[in-house]
Symmetry: none
Subunit: 211 residues, 4 copies
Amino acid sequence: MTVKVFDELKIKEKENRKLIILQIAEEILHENCIEDVTIRNVALKAGLSTGAIYMYFASKEELLLSMLIKNLKTLHSELETLKEIDDPAKVLKAMALAYRNYFINYGKYIDIFRHLTDKEGPEAIGQDHKEELHNTVGSILKFIEEMAAGEEIKKYTGGIPPGRLVPMVWSIVQGVSQVTLSTTSGKAFGFDFDQVIDDFIDLVFLKPKKI
Amino acid sequence: MTVKVFDELKIKEKENRKLIILQIAEEILHENCIEDVTIRNVALKAGLSTGAIYMYFASKEELLLSMLIKNLKTLHSELETLKEIDDPAKVLKAMALAYRNYFINYGKYIDIFRHLTDKEGPEAIGQDHKEELHNTVGSILKFIEEMAAGEEIKKYTGGIPPGRLVPMVWSIVQGVSQVTLSTTSGKAFGFDFDQVIDDFIDLVFLKPKKI
Amino acid sequence: MTVKVFDELKIKEKENRKLIILQIAEEILHENCIEDVTIRNVALKAGLSTGAIYMYFASKEELLLSMLIKNLKTLHSELETLKEIDDPAKVLKAMALAYRNYFINYGKYIDIFRHLTDKEGPEAIGQDHKEELHNTVGSILKFIEEMAAGEEIKKYTGGIPPGRLVPMVWSIVQGVSQVTLSTTSGKAFGFDFDQVIDDFIDLVFLKPKKI
Amino acid sequence: MTVKVFDELKIKEKENRKLIILQIAEEILHENCIEDVTIRNVALKAGLSTGAIYMYFASKEELLLSMLIKNLKTLHSELETLKEIDDPAKVLKAMALAYRNYFINYGKYIDIFRHLTDKEGPEAIGQDHKEELHNTVGSILKFIEEMAAGEEIKKYTGGIPPGRLVPMVWSIVQGVSQVTLSTTSGKAFGFDFDQVIDDFIDLVFLKPKKI
DNA sequence: CATGAATGAGACTTCATTCAT
DNA sequence: GATGAATGAAGTCTCATTCAT
């Protein structure tokens, strides 16, 4: 029995250390770029040896994947808190802001996403991990669909079924984030996240009343 | 005289080979990912030695940049052909399709964009090249703004000035492309480019008439 | 406690390996020329992979610089032991011999010197390292000046202040080393280091008494 | 007959173009460093193709060697003009200045010297070229020996035979050039060529009279 | 558990040299 | 004679991963 308790403690500790490593990797990604997220750099910043990282993650691939999933889950739970809002315009704005946080803080996850999913062959992501990723994204999309199915929103979306609003919302929020928050377009051309989102909401939700 | 003709032929041939290399690089990018666009790989696929690539491009940066600018220019000229269309909904659809081609054929240029612009320090893109890139993007954005300033479109966009419609259009088209055309979201969740664009156009342009 | 001992051992071992690599690099330099002191060659001769060298030296520049400074320091400490000699002729001879050892054993440091200092731009030596080098050379020159300031020596050098004797001594000893010890002039024309130095000492120190 | 004249003209023209290429190589060496003397750079500056250089020089080695020998010959003929000077101190000063010119203008010939002579094996310099180099240096040394055999000079050099003065003069002049004219020691420590040479001449030639 | 030395492959890049035209 | 495209070897350096300790 006692041994078991110890074992569980050990597992918890291990899980803890995993999270710490993950967080350090995120900091590096956030402060620099995905190319700088090397095992060496992570180990260095964590005060560990390079080899030690492999006690917690089987490969770099797995580490990156863990980062991605962890953050998608954070995004999901943030979205969940929006369920109580009634006004669809406000929901959309809140969703956009949640995504904005996800994008700003862990901004370069699209890179990871792509990096992990576009590859084929031996370096590619394992099937099991692929599923976990798929499920996590799925739950976010499902949430969006639920939001889109609200009574209020139908007044503005007409005949478009909720299922079809999902890729639209997802696309727009991601597109706006990427375009307005990236160094190039964003800073160079003076694009502003809030402005674009607000204008979009105006366009969709307020216009009918105006005319 | 004859010599001059020969000279011109040589220059043309060289330009040709440059384009072939560029196309090969594009194929690699398209079939794999930006990390796989290495000088080695390009040379291999071109049946050349690695050194030979440097006869046509002074550095890897220049190769990537050439790809990017070439395709942005193609996009721009495709957009220019849309000037005669009157119906703003049709323009938007046509623009989206143009971008879709750009994105589908040479898919991951956003990666290059970021890859080239996010870096700082010695590996970063040179200032002169940065400007060329900036200008090319600028001319596309300017075109969008001109489209957004049309009389017809004002009926649907209300008080939003054309300048502010630019990032919105750009964001949405890019976002939809990325989300629906990428392997992951697109194929995995059954998102469809045309459907999303059409729904969006419905939302913005047809709704007023319904209510 | 034991752990600490182990740690210290490791550090010592690492330092040891660093010295071994340095020595191997020196051997290559001695047997060939500075162009042959490549990371590849050093690694090969050390039975290591090229990457392994970078565990001990951050760059090739650092390796070369370490070689140079190490040997300048050896020269300096050898010179320091000459402080007790009274007879200036003997001091000069001893200094020349010390330099000869430095030059013979690690022969082509002048090359490194130039290699490191003549370059400008990114490949050039870092400012911090430049200073360390400057200081090391400075301490040697300072020693020579102190020697040149001795009472005895004034009888032979007349009104030339000690500070001006420094470049002269440095030049002559280096020149004689290079000319007599190099493969070409030295071996080809039968020049002999000791003979030249002795003659020079005769010329300066003994002549007065003769006339 | 006529054909022969043409042939000679051709040979002359070829020799001419050889000299031009040589001069261009020298300019590059002078303005930059030996590493920048590449066949490509020379061809570029000469307005030729890389391949064309090989019509005039069998290899890069030969080109460098030609540069070296050409300049040693210039030095030699400059020295020959000093034969009429009587005062040995003045001769020494003039010789030093001649060497200084050789060193300043084509300063990095010592590198070439070393580069060419220290190598062994297939890349090494051919035996025939080695001899030409040897002879050219030999004629300079012979000149120095003749100078050192003058009656006037014996008063200052006592019993040292002229043959043994040769390496001393050669060493000192080269050493002083290298130490005072190099970026590092020279500029960094404020060494001055003329000062050192003058002091040295004082030391050897004028001191006896002072005491 | 943890270390960190070492590997090996691969990244970009340069350059002397050759050869078909 | 001359061109310049192409090669192939070599250069510096990075990094995921392994393994003896």
